[in-house]
Structures are given as C-alpha cells and as structure tokens.
C-alpha cells in the first residue's frame, strides 16, 4: 500500500467517525445536558442544605441520614410505592397475557377487540384520572353501583385508607392495552410446529401453554415486567390528582413526596437525596429481576 492510499484511508476513517458522532448528536447532546450533567449536579446537591434563596451550605451526609432514617414519610412512601408496584405489575402481566391468549385464536373481530382493549391506554394522565375519580366515587360511582346490584356494600375507595391503594392498583388494570399488543406479537412468533409436535405427543391445551407458550414468550414477559416495574415506581399522576397522597398518607408515592419536598417545601438537598435513594432502590429491584430473569427466561438460539 502506498503512503498516499494509507493516508486517504486514515482520512476516510476520521470522516466516518465524525459522521457517526454528528448523526448521533441529537441524542448525545440531550443526554449530556438533560441526563448526565444533572445527575452529577443532583449528587452534589444531595450533600447541601439549600432552599433556592439561601447560599448552598455543605452538610455532608445529613440529608442522606434524614432520608434513610429520620424522616418516617420517606420510608412510608417507599413502602407504599413498593406495595403498589409489587401488586399492580404482576396483576397487569397476568391479565394482559390472559387477554392476549384469548385474542391469539382464530377469531372474528380481532381488530375491533384489540382497539377496545387499547383504548384506555390512548388517553392517559389527568383525563383518565378524572374518569377514575368518577367511577370510584363512593355514593355515585359506577363500581359501587355495580357492587350494590349484587348485594355488596362497596367501600369508600379513594377516601378509605385501606382501600385507596387497592383502588389505584385496580385502575392500572385498565391500561394494559400496550402489554396486550406486545404479548400478541410475541405469541404470533411462536412456531406452530411446536404445537403440532406436542399434539402428536398427546399434549393438552394446558400442557402446551405451560411447556411451549410461556417459555417461548418469556423474553416478552420479562421485558414487560421490567418496564412495568420501573414505571410503577415512578407513579405520580393518579396520586397527585386523585388522592393527594391521602388518606392518611396511604397513597404517598415516592415521586409525589419528592415533588412536595422539592417544589412545595423547597428543601432541595433533601429532595435530591430522596431522588437518589429512589434511584438506587429501582436499580436494586431491576438487578434482582435480571438475576431471576436468567433462571426462567428462555432465549432461543442461546447456548446452555
């Protein structure tokens, strides 16, 4: 190779590298400004005492100690959030899989049903919360009306400390449309030969579900449970709009408490510490999930 060709090859390499960075810039720039640097800043703020107006004062690990031990509301919010995540996500996963299995048969009106199940997922946030509020209204709501029809005296739901959190869990079941669609896609990827072979061996429907369907779609289940947990740990809207964390802090989700500490009480250092605590908490849960996932998730084409 001549020196000139070598040089032009080198030049092209540099140009390719530059092109790559340039095209990726819409992500990298945003990542630096809105994720990476704020994370560092947030760590720095968590060791300071600061209310926006005062000059920041270094206080060591005082905020962390407060978050971990001294403030009972932090612990309460983590408890509530964990309880919410651990009940709503498995329920969502099971219900959406059940509906996806129903839809995965040769039925008429698939598109219609798919749309009906997806509909609540389209309207999310405050508008949906308003509707939940109306449904769960103790004396006027449709749910208690339906319960009354079968002779059950429904609870006060959002106004009852024992029922507020279950009520919020219940409302999440309505938003499983996205999960149903992902399951449907995964189910359609299961090779039919497997079922045919199992039928020849005399497998029943239940055996096929347990031995073929579930293992084959386990990566999709894993994906959904992971994303679902991360989202559940960040629940905010329903608590802010429907219950304001009450009654009696029964629905004080971590992000709601964080919002209050930061933007209503202006305890920035303490809020940053809570945010990091929540972050580590979610990280730990995700790590455990991945550890467990290795055991029961089946990846096709992966060597033992």
């Amino acid at each position: 190779m001549t020196a000139q060709a070598l040089r032009s090859g080198k030049r092209r390499e540099i140009r390719d590298e530059l092109t790559g960075w340039l095209f990726a810039a819409p992500w990298t720039v945003g990542f630096l400004i809105f994720t990476a640097l704020p994370m560092l800043a947030s760590a720095a703020i968590s060791v300071m005492d600061w209310n926006f107006i005062s000059t920041p004062k270094f206080v060591g690990l005082a905020n962390w100690q407060k978050a971990l031990a001294d403030d009972p509301l932090v612990l309460q919010s983590l408890r509530v959030t964990t309880l919410f995540a651990m009940t709503s996500v498995p329920l969502q996963a099971v219900f959406s899989l059940f509906i996806a299995l129903l839809l995965n048969q040769p039925i008429r009106g698939l598109r219609f049903f798919r749309t009906v199940f997806y509909l609540p997922s389209v309207v999310s946030g405050v508008a949906l919360a308003m509707l939940y509020r109306w449904l769960l209204s103790p004396d006027m709501g449709l749910i208690n009306y339906a319960l009354a029809q079968i002779g059950i005296d429904g609870p006060a739901w959002l106004l009852d400390p024992d029922w507020a959190l279950p009520a919020l869990v219940l409302t999440t079941l309505w938003g499983i449309g996205g999960m149903i669609i992902i399951y449907l896609a995964a189910l359609q990827g299961v090779p039919t030969e497997l079922y045919e072979a199992a039928e020849v061996d005399g497998a029943r429907a239940w055996d096929k579900l347990r031995a073929i369907t579930i293992p084959m779609i386990s990566p999709a289940v894993f994906f959904q449970v992971t994303m679902g947990l991360i989202a559940a740990f960040q629940q905010f809207v329903s608590a802010q709009v429907l219950t304001q964390g009450g009654p009696n802090n029964a629905t004080l989700f971590s992000v709601l408490y964080l919002y209050r500490v930061a933007f209503q009480q202006f305890r920035m250092g303490f809020a940053a510490a809570i945010a990091w605590l929540l972050f580590f908490f979610i990280l730990a849960v995700t790590a455990i999930l991945f550890k467990l996932g290795g055991v029961w998730v089946y990846y096709e084409g992966m060597m033992e």
Binding site: G20, S42, L102, A220, Q234, V241, Y259
Partner: protein, 305 residues
C-alpha cells in the same frame, strides 16, 4: 390455548376408518364450545373496558339532577348538550389547547427528526464509539427521571425559562431512547445495499438518510410520532413544576384546575365529564388515525429485541 381440552389426544395417526366422521364431529363440538367461551370472555372483558367511556359520555350530557338519579339512565332524557359550552366557559380552555398544541407540534417534529438521525448513526454508519454509546442509551431507558428533576429545574431557572413553554418542550426535542431504538430496529430490516448504491451514485450520507431511508420508514416514524404526541399531550409532572400562570397552562393542568373549580359546592360531575371528554378527543382522533402504525410500532419494539 385456554386450558379447555379440545381432545386432540384421539390418536391422530391411526384413525379408524368407520369412526372418522364421528371423530371429526367430536373435535368440532369441542372446538366450537371452546370458541364460544372465548367470545363470551372477550365480550365480557371488552365490555368492562368500554363501559367507563360510555358512562363518561352519558354523564357529560346529563343535568346534575339527572346525574344523581338512581338507577342511572343509560341515555339521558333530556340530553343536555349545554354542559359542553358551560364547561369550556369556566376556564379558558382555548388557551390551554393552544399551549398544548404548540408543545405537541415542537415535540413531535423534534422527536421524529432527532430519533431517526440518531437511529441512522446507530444502524447505518460504522464508527468506533457506536456500540458503546448505543449501550449507554439503552441503559438510560431504565433510569427514572426523578434524579435529574431538581438540577433541570435549577438550569431552567437560570435560563429564565420558568413559566414558559420552553422547559416542557425543548428537552423533549432531543432523541428519546425508546423512539431511537424503535427506528433503529426498523432500519436494521432495510438492506445495506441501498446505502452502497446511493453512495456509488454520489449521494451524501445525509441525502441517503433524508431521501431514501426516511420515506421507506413511514410506519415506524408514524409510531414514534404517535408516542411523542401521547407523551407531550398527557405530560403532567413537568407542566406542574414549571408553569404557574393560567395563560401558560396545558390541557392536563387546565383539567386538573377545572376539577378543583368543579368541586366548589358539590362536585359538578356533569361539567367535569364534559371537560374530560373534550380533552380526550384529540388523543382518540390521533389514535384512530395512526392505529395501524402504532400497533406495528409496538410490535417492533416488543419482539425484535
């Protein structure tokens, strides 16, 4: 599928010649039964998913006396359309709508462009830092946004962006990991020969992206646009933090304020449901419009890992 026995055990290879018809009809009875149960369950479940919406809409055209009537009327008599103008009059919903529209347009266009550019870098170009950066991007999908909330607030305060629409739109113009990932997966299904051919013809990388790949990727771009719309349209936490005067409210903030207003002296469910319906309609329209692409897009993201 469902755990109903369809009796496919009946020895497939050696069907007795005489009993073939009987065997076949036995299967079809079981099949039909299982099919019937499937439909029954689907209709029941579909009903529970749809009824809240129907109830919302009927409530929105009742007078408050009709709302409190038991048993509830399915189709109210008379139908009270006045709730809609009345609700819209209570707060300046037109301004909320305009603010939301501005944010949504900026975020949707920004997301589609930035995600597809980054996806191009992560799939069609070969460069050293590519795979490391892509791995970092994917791992940020698991990062809860709360850690960055406070420093961002400080940043936007420094920039004097508080109580403007900027902090709820500009950060969301930069490529989001999910959309980038989605488009990258789609790009990966398009043959690289196309890029080579374009290059031989003297097209630049950007032209290949702009004139060849983008037009081929309309379904996934539509899916990303729809997700971006839904996010921007429904976002509540960010507007709640950054916006404090009514002239800058977005629809979710407006609806939340409306709830407090409608609660004065007994909750006006009729008006609240009318306002809620109005806020839901644009999201529903976008869904109807983009349904096909949306489902394809979700399918891509969910399965092709």
């Amino acid at each position: 599928m469902l755990g109903f026995r369809t009796d496919s055990r009946a020895k497939v290879p050696s069907v007795p010649t005489g009993g073939l018809r009987a065997w076949a009809s036995r299967i079809s009875v079981a099949r039909r039964l299982s099919r019937g149960i499937t439909y029954l369950l689907l209709i029941l479940l579909g009903f529970t998913f749809a009824v809240p919406f129907l109830w919302q809409v009927t409530t929105s055209v009742k007078s408050i006396q009709q709302v409190y009537r038991f048993p509830p009327e399915l189709i109210p008599n008379p139908v009270v359309f006045r709730n809609y103008p009345d609700a819209m009059m209570m707060l300046p919903f037109g301004i909320f709508f305009l603010n939301t529209a501005k944010v949504v347009v900026v975020v949707v266009i920004g997301q589609v462009l930035s995600c597809s550019l980054a996806a191009f870098a992560f799939s069609r170009l070969r460069w050293k830092a590519r795979d490391t950066l892509f791995a970092i991007m994917l791992s940020t999908m698991m990062l809860p946004g709360q850690v960055t909330l406070i420093p961002q607030f400080i940043l936007f305060r420094k920039l004097d962006w508080i109580n403007t629409l900027l902090p709820i739109s500009i950060p969301f113009v930069f490529a989001a990991p999910y959309g980038t990932f989605l488009i990258r997966q789609f790009f990966a299904t398009i043959s690289l020969d196309i890029d080579d051919a374009a290059r031989v013809d003297g097209a630049s990388r950007f032209r290949t992206y702009w004139q060849i790949l983008l037009p081929m990727s309309k379904p996934v771009l539509a899916a990303v646009a729809t997700f971006a719309f839904n996010y921007a349209y429904n976002d509540f936490l960010n507007p709640l933090i950054y916006i404090n005067s009514k002239e800058k409210f977005t629809l979710p903030l407006g609806l939340s304020a409306f709830q407090d207003r409608a609660a004065w002296g007994g909750m006006r469910w009729d008006l609240l449901m009318a306002a809620t319906t109005v806020v839901m309609i644009p999201a529903l329209l976008v869904f109807v419009f983009a349904q096909r692409y949306l489902i394809q897009g979700v399918v891509f993201s969910g399965v092709k890992g």
